[in-house]
């Protein structure tokens, strides 16, 4: 009995130690959600933050219905490299940034004008192929959110097309509407409504590559190979405003160099998916769980 128990525990531990295969094949699903579509968020009051402070945005604006996909970002890189708006610097793609005001505050790092990282071409977690001239999305990942992209890379994408990263307050209103709800779809979170650590979606294989991204707009009420999703659209029709990947926002705050993210991610517990929860990192930080979407028109 003791030996059997020991064997079981040892087998379980060995199975959980299996190395990660970043090139493992993933299921392919068409979500029928168009990543080129935009949603309009009307001006007006809304309830902001954990304790529902009254806030107002005095202009209409639009935000992308989904996160920017790998296919979209690959197309951007090809165009930006051709127009010299992005530069290939050895194994990195970099681009210009005008720099931030530096106050030398405690823990603050200076970000002077210069070229900064967009993506690291040879990072094995990047879901893009590069043949020396052209970028393309890795097979199966075309409609997954673009990840392993820095804040500079996210900002560059939006600005290249005349758009911008949403501010934190714009992001939050787009995510929760005006009724103070904690999640984009309402009050409670359940397993099949967003990609978080317990979602058990078809893209999770804990013994192989772990919790993976889902295609943008995946949680829209459709069934995929027997996995029935619930619709996680926000009151304005934006998908994945909770879970899947963190989303860079555009604010640059004084006395710190950190850039802020919203939305929670595939790797985390449900409480981090509440719309007011923030994450932050240096603007050159990249992660398989960080992406972005853009906003346009209006101004803060």
């Amino acid at each position: 009995m003791k030996k059997l128990l020991l064997c079981l525990v040892a087998s379980f531990l060995l199975a959980s130690c299996k190395p990660v295969d970043l090139n493992a094949a993933v299921p392919v699903f068409d979500t029928a959600v168009d990543p080129e579509s935009w949603a309009k968020i009307p001006s007006g009051e809304f309830l902001k933050g954990q304790f529902n402070e009254e806030a107002v945005i005095e202009y209409d604006y639009e935000m992308m219905v989904t996160d920017v996909t790998n296919a979209q970002y690959a197309a951007f890189l090809n165009e930006a490299l051709a127009s010299n708006d992005a530069i290939k610097d050895n194994k990195l793609i970099v681009g210009p940034y005008p720099g931030d005001t530096f106050n030398g505050y405690r823990h603050e790092e200076e970000i002077p004008a210069g070229n900064y990282l967009y993506i690291d071409i040879i990072d094995p977690a990047l879901r893009l192929n590069f043949d020396g001239n052209t970028f393309s999305a890795k097979a199966g990942y075309e409609n997954h959110p673009m990840t392993m992209v820095s804040w500079f890379g996210a900002r560059a994408y939006c600005e290249y097309y005349g758009w911008r990263l949403p501010s934190e307050v714009e992001w939050e209103k787009a995510a929760r509407g005006t009724d103070g709800r904690p999640f984009p779809w309402g009050e409670k979170i359940t397993r099949n409504i967003a990609n978080f650590t317990f979602s058990r979606d078809p893209f999770e294989d804990m013994s192989a590559y772990g919790s993976n991204t889902t295609p943008v707009g995946f949680y829209n009420g459709k069934s995929y190979a027997g996995y029935q999703t619930l619709n996680n659209a926000s009151p304005y029709g934006l998908y994945d405003m909770a879970g899947n990947v963190w989303q860079w926002t555009g604010n640059v705050y004084p006395d710190q160099h950190y850039r802020y993210m919203r939305g929670g991610s595939k790797n985390l517990y449900e409480n981090t998916l509440r719309v007011w929860v923030t994450n932050n990192a240096t603007p050159t930080f990249t992660s398989p769980a960080v992406g972005f979407r853009c906003a346009r028109s209006g101004q803060e």
Binding site: N52, T272, A281
Partner: protein, 494 residues
């Protein structure tokens, strides 16, 4: 009726009974509300518990709920440590009764007022009971300070084995007094912002604001409060274990001044977080290093003593290295209590110092969520390791002997350390593997952590069931313990 009264008198009037009730309630609260945590949600247990018990989990109130839950558990632990102090140190009987009864009423009010308010809707009467409970615990602390006053003539030390001043003022009692004083003042650093935040639900968890460059005075006060309270609970635990081990001799004389100075400097450092955040950190490092040196001297003393006693029991005068190790490990409860203090250096102090030293170079280059994972792991491990040390002392007080003592002690040491080691690796995983390839490490450490914690809870449950069944015996252990006015310790016997 007589049957019930006898048990009630044991559970609520004797020191060992009070400790047993405290541990049982802390175990129940931890086990029940632990079922609402992350892994339990994955297994569907959280949903079942919420449905069966009609729990009202408002998303925006999560942080408020946790603050109340942490305070309830902390009040129970503070009460348990207070019972141990009043049982171990000499003090007037009327003061002892006043302290124990007040703190018992206090933590019970905090528990039965706070948890219903936090988890079952907001009946404000319950919030009032909760606040009254916290106030009673504070008041009991003030009385404890008075009772501990080390300059009274009757507490003068004449035995040169124990640290004392030239006039005979006992330094160990002074260390308890310094720790208790610092605790009382530090409680205010939580109480004042707590009052300002009002209903307990417009709150924040300190780990969520570490990267915010501009923090308010109340924010800083709360950050200082939670750090010092946990540290002082740990220092109190070390002092209690010292009494259990009959800490004396040269190591005692070296350690006690360090415990006094360490407690006060550490506390002052956390208070100074409010006006001088940067300088305060250096003072905190200084104070904690001094207090940790005091604990190190206790470890050296106790291990030498265990080896000496173990060899003597085996009739060996001068043992080999292996015989000395065997003697050291002979009693897992007494060895484990101080071993856990050593292990704390690997999983708490070492990690904390490394993180502080390399903060900008490494940890602030990661995303905030990874830094937060270290912070939450850090203080969860410190709190739980301290609890295991107190449990070992209680198991000894409860009369655990023979094979049961060996099984209980070793299972508690091995599986708690397995869990804490796994959590330490989990929280520092970015040093080992990139995020994209983290899953196997996350799986393994999570599994080992769960195995460790579940085993510890089962071992604790076994101890509680044993003591529960004892209550149904006419002449069980409880009847003997009912008549013991003091916890058995060398000082009391003296």
């Amino acid at each position: 009726m007589k049957w019930i009264r006898a048990r009630f008198n044991y559970l609520f009037k004797s020191t060992k009974g009070l400790i047993l009730v405290g541990i049982a309630l802390a175990s129940l609260v931890s086990a029940f509300f632990g079922m609402l945590s992350g892994p339990m949600a994955d297994w569907g247990i959280k949903d079942v518990i919420v449905r069966i018990f009609g729990i009202d989990l408002v998303e925006a109130e999560r942080e408020g709920r946790l603050v109340i839950l942490y305070h309830v558990i902390a009040m129970i632990v503070v009460a348990i440590e207070t019972y141990m102090i009043t049982g171990l140190l000499e003090m007037k009987e009327n003061l002892k009764v006043l302290i124990n009864s007040t703190i018992t009423a206090g933590y019970l009010a905090a528990l039965f007022g706070g948890l219903p308010f936090a988890y079952w809707g907001h009946v404000w009467a319950f919030h009032g009971i909760y606040i009254a409970g916290l106030s009673l615990v504070f008041f009991a602390g003030c009385v404890l300070l008075y009772a501990l006053w080390p300059w009274r003539k009757e507490y003068r030390v004449t035995d040169n084995s124990y640290a004392h001043t030239k006039k005979g003022v006992p330094l160990e009692r002074s260390a308890f007094f310094a720790m208790a004083s610092a605790t009382i003042i530090s409680a205010l650093f939580g109480a004042i912002p707590g009052s300002a935040f009002g209903n307990g639900f417009t709150v924040f968890l300190a780990e969520n604001v570490v990267r915010t460059p501009h923090k308010s005075v109340l924010d800083l006060s709360i950050i200082g409060h939670l750090h010092i309270m946990l540290a002082l609970i740990a220092i109190c635990c070390a002092l209690i274990i010292g009494r259990w081990m009959d800490f004396k001799g040269i190591w005692h004389k070296l350690a006690m001044p360090m415990m006094i100075v360490g407690s006060l400097v550490l506390a002052m450092g956390t208070w100074l977080v409010v006006p001088f955040e940067t300088a305060a950190h250096a003072i905190i490092y200084g104070g904690s290093t001094i207090a940790m040196l005091g604990a190190l001297f206790l470890v050296i003393f106790s291990w030498r003593k265990l080896i000496r006693e173990g060899l003597a029991q085996g009739g060996i005068q001068k043992g080999s290295f292996a015989q000395k190790i065997s003697a050291l490990l002979r009693d897992p409860l007494k060895f484990g209590a101080t071993w856990q203090m050593v292990f704390m250096n690997f999983t708490v102090s070492g990690v904390g110092i490394f993180t502080a030293v390399k903060l900008d170079e490494i940890f602030r280059q990661w995303q905030f969520m990874d830094e937060r994972s270290i912070l939450t792991g850090h203080w969860h491990i410190l709190a739980t390791l301290t609890a295991t040390i107190l449990l070992m002392y209680y198991a000894d007080l409860a009369g655990l002997k023979g094979k049961a003592r060996q099984w209980f002690g070793w299972l508690l040491i091995i599986f708690s350390d397995l869990a804490f080691g796994a959590v330490t690796i989990y929280e520092m995983r970015r040093l080992i593997t990139p995020e994209a390839t983290q899953q196997p490490l996350v799986n393994t450490t999570t599994l080992l952590g769960d195995i460790g914690l579940i085993t510890v809870l089962l071992v604790l449950a076994a101890l509680m069931v044993w003591r529960l069944t004892d209550l149904f015996k006419k002449k069980g252990r409880w009847s003997v313990e009912s008549s013991q006015a003091r916890l058995e310790s060398p000082e009391v016997e003296k």
